[in-house]
């Protein structure tokens, strides 16, 4: 299509996490239109579910907030939440994209006053806290939600409770008649930023996640340590609410493992070092043992490793634990071999955190013909000249700052693709 103008100069960004938000903001601030599609009721993705970022331990509000500001003040963007891409046809400059939306049952009149939540009696698992607690059937997805708007759980639709919720709203924001929708969009380029999901820890059979009490995974630990989490930010054992002072962190839980994820997820070492810092911040007498194969703290991140390692109450055990069982007191007990001393250990802890890795969200469920690598991650420039690009963890394990960089790069390529359509962008790829 050399020389031809793109029929549509709109960029579709799929995924409203940190990568998708970044790509969208970069594109609109360059003067092009964006449709941002997010499958959950709010933007923010996994970053909104973090307690803090490594290595500086600042809060994810920082980063998200400024990007929300850039979205909010720009007329070039259209944000579609509870929406997914069902199908893609056409080619660069002239894609036809089919979008499907689920009903939120709350319209733009919502002021987030919370009266609907007070009227709700049913409680549903809180997805924001990975199901560690529950929320009313009418709820705000989380404190950093964008749009700042409540959502109704489908469980209550068609019940008298739903009518009570509607009656409680002073602004007429509850729409119980809203139906799923399906419609087509014309776009010129697509940025896939669908992100990741935590590897299912229950598949690590000998570690007993879901079977042995007080064995959690690393994303759950973020929620446990967060002020907006199920314990108000206190690191407590899920089984009995006692302080978790003796904590074991297990690295490579299902990563670098040919029985599970063969690759290194790149963030878990730093994530666990951060978790050690959380525990030590809260408990002066806390003791954290990090079980590792090797610690992968790259480049400047090594300084954070050194900082945590300098704490005499954080111990590094070079060992991949073999199994976890429960003792009579409800403590998880780690069994394995210390590969330095060759001690065969059986050690009880208050809490065990499995550093599970990242799996691509789209694995096995691609809505379009997209090139993937051996592990199911998208190839960054999906097909030269295709007008489709991958950003963030959709293209491979990255930390937040690297996701932002890859999203900025994808935004530039998407702009080249729609402007281009023929110009130097296509020539450069030849």
């Amino acid at each position: 299509m050399a020389g031809e103008a793109a029929e549509s100069q709109t960029v579709l960004v799929v995924g409203g996490g940190i990568a998708g938000i970044t790509a969208a903001v970069e594109v609109i601030e360059t003067g092009y239109d964006v449709v941002l599609v997010e499958k959950s009721p709010t933007l923010g993705g996994r970053v909104a579910q973090l307690n803090r970022y490594f290595p500086k331990l600042c809060h994810p509000t920082c980063g998200l907030e400024i990007n929300y500001q850039r979205l909010r003040s720009n007329p070039r963007i259209r944000v579609l939440t509870m929406a997914t891409v069902a199908a893609v046809s056409g080619s660069r400059g002239r894609f036809g994209v089919t979008i499907e939306t689920r009903p939120r049952h709350v319209n733009a009149n919502c002021t987030a006053c919370g009266d609907c939540a007070k009227a709700a009696t049913t409680r549903v698992p809180n997805a924001y806290n990975y199901g560690l607690d529950t929320v009313p059937a009418a709820h705000l997805p989380h404190a950093m939600a964008y749009p700042m708007r409540y959502v109704l759980a489908p469980e209550v639709i068609g019940t008298p409770e739903a009518d009570a919720i509607r009656a409680a709203c002073k602004y007429g924001a509850i729409d119980l008649e809203e139906k799923p929708r399906r419609f087509d969009l014309a776009v010129g380029a697509i940025v896939w930023a669908a992100g990741w999901k935590p590897y299912d820890a229950a598949k690590l059979q000998s570690y007993g996640h879901g079977r042995v009490p007080n064995v959690i995974n690393n994303v759950e630990m973020e929620r446990l340590a967060a002020f907006t989490g199920p314990t108000g930010g206190k690191i407590l054992r899920p089984s009995d609410g006692k302080p978790a002072k003796r904590v074991a962190l297990i690295q490579c839980a299902g990563s670098r493992d040919h029985n599970h994820l063969p690759y290194c997820s790149r963030i878990c070492c730093l994530g666990s070092l951060k978790h050690a810092a959380y525990v030590r911040e809260q408990y002066a007498d806390g003791q954290v043992d990090i079980y590792y194969i090797d610690i992968r703290a790259h480049d400047k991140l090594e300084a954070f490793y050194r900082r945590v390692a300098a704490d005499p109450q954080v111990r590094f055990v070079k060992s991949k634990p073999a199994s976890i069982t429960a003792d009579d007191a409800g403590n998880p007990v780690l069994h394995g071999e210390d590969t330095v001393s060759r001690e065969i250990y059986d050690r009880p802890y208050d809490l065990v955190v499995l550093a599970t890795g990242m799996e691509p969200s789209l694995a096995g469920a691609l809505p379009a013909k997209l090139a993937v690598d051996d592990y199911g991650f998208l190839v960054p420039e999906l097909d030269p000249g295709s007008g489709m690009f991958a950003a963030g963890v959709a293209q491979g394990p990255l930390d937040v700052s690297m996701s932002v960089q890859s999203a900025t790069a994808a935004a530039l390529k998407a702009i080249q693709a729609i402007r281009g359509a023929g110009g130097h962008a296509a020539a450069g790829r030849a």
Partner: protein, 211 residues
Amino acid sequence: MSAAPAAASAASAGRRQYDLGFARWVYQHVEGGDKVAMCMQCGMCSGSCPIGTAMDHGPRKLFMMIRAGMKEAVLTSNTIWNCTQCYNCVVRCPRKVPVTAILQSLATVAVKEGYAPTQSTPKFSKAFWLSVARFGRTDERLVTALYYFSHGLKEGIRRALENLPIALRMIKAGRMHLGLPHRAKGAADLRAILAKAEDIERAERAGGKPS
């Protein structure tokens, strides 16, 4: 299976001997030995072993010793004999190293090279083999007797008497028969196959082609 390389030189007593060709030899000649190079020393195998505390080194350390060329220490280790082939380690190994096959194959090497085993496991293996090779099946009385008396006449009698009450109860319960040993239908064919295999192995060891 060709012979493992001999240690380069007899070092003075007490000094560790490193045979740098040993690792390569294991990679090429031991069943699954090439996978020893895959081991990342995580400890999953030794930690998963139900009798890990009864092993002097455990598989993980043994693999490192192979890579370091510690031939003597590897082939005299009790790790290769204590493995019960439960496959816990094989199932869990993140690098898919066939731990049990390697240990078993190393035990065979140790016997062939004349290393004195640290425990009686090879005695039992020999008793088992004699029964299977001769009759095509294991006979519980034959294997037990061969194993007991492989410890010497006096020890054989002692063990036999000690276990006599169990044997009598088994006979009573119909779990042990009296009479000739169990025999497979094609026992003679099996013996011919084994003889042929031994021929091939001998020829290979001599460097010639199998007849």
